[in-house]
Symmetry: C2
Subunit: 164 residues, 2 copies
DNA sequence: GGCTATTTGGTTGCGCGCAATTTAATTGCG
DNA sequence: CGCAATTAAATTGCGCGCAACCAAATAGCC
């Protein structure tokens, strides 16, 4: 706390570094809030599909790539088994995927969309349009924003890996 | 990836709507991933402050505004008591904040940074710079990205509220 | 073959994030 | 005043995200 002349109960710090604090808050908090806001919209839109947002992401990957081992799924989604194992178990209970150990490599578990899981794709067709509508953005804006976010993620992952 | 001639075990559906699916995946997944990547960097940077990322956000608000009731805190952070109550209890256990019911309105709980909590701000001073460095972005880029994200959040919140 | 090291998933523990419910205090209206 | 409606927090329940740890299978090396 550096010398202030006036403020409220717990006086805010003044000074040059505060711009950094606010800037920081804007980017990290903005991202945090936007991510949760997206989650909220997906929650509404996916409700009658019986999927949560992360479950929807898993199904998207399976619809696109077909049967995959848990490892590959995790690479696509940037998630590990600690998150995927229980999630996949719930999808299995819901009858949307099957899980069976690979014959070639008994360590690996193949995740396969069931008939029902594959059929669900038809009902999910309209989801993206509804989400895009909710954003009020144009396709081009979305694309450029996505590109920026991808740069960000890459840079942040590298930074976290190198220990700062 | 539209219309491929050769697909794997569970063949992906071809057709026009697939562009939408991919576009959607880019924006929602990109945001999701970026948010988690940020979380990862903050986890590293905040480690020796003994704070998680949401706890850091709470302290940022308290440092800026001083003592606040839980309700106001939630408005700043877009969080409700279901999230804040246990989080604040942990901050209290850590000795960083105190919680006491307001005398004016016994329903309200005032959250106040302790001496220790206020002192922590000094050690947190360098955090924003390190985070910004991790992004590899310029201040202006960050600002414009933040502005976009804020638009997004506003639009998404409105959409979710109006039921789609 | 026998040994260690690596890879793959699963499990546990903890902290969010949020909907739904509960409790207590306050407000508002007749 | 008395009583219903509203408001502020807390609690409960569930799903994700991740670190840490464990077990089984495989690969590699002597």
């Amino acid at each position: 706390m550096t010398a202030t002349p006036n403020p409220p109960a717990t006086p805010p710090l003044p000074g040059a570094a505060d711009d950094w604090l606010r800037l920081d808050q804007q980017i990290c908090f903005g991202l945090h809030a936007a991510s949760r806001a997206f989650n909220g919209v997906y929650r509404v839109v996916l409700k009658d599909l019986g999927l949560t947002y992360p479950q929807y992401l898993v199904m998207l990957v399976l619809w696109e790539h077909g049967t995959l081992p848990v490892k590959k799924l995790g690479e696509h989604l940037r998630l590990d088994s600690g998150t995927l194992s229980p999630l996949l178990k719930r999808l299995e209970t819901a009858g949307l995927v099957s899980r069976e150990r690979s014959a070639r490599d008994e360590r690996s578990v193949e995740v396969r969309p069931t008939e029902e899981g594959t059929a669900l794709r038809e009902r999910a067709r309209e989801v993206p349009r509804r989400i895009l509508a909710a954003t009020g953005f144009e396709g081009d804006e979305v694309r450029s924003l996505s590109a920026r976010l991808h740069e960000l993620t890459t840079a942040l992952d590298r930074a976290a890996a190198s220990g700062a």
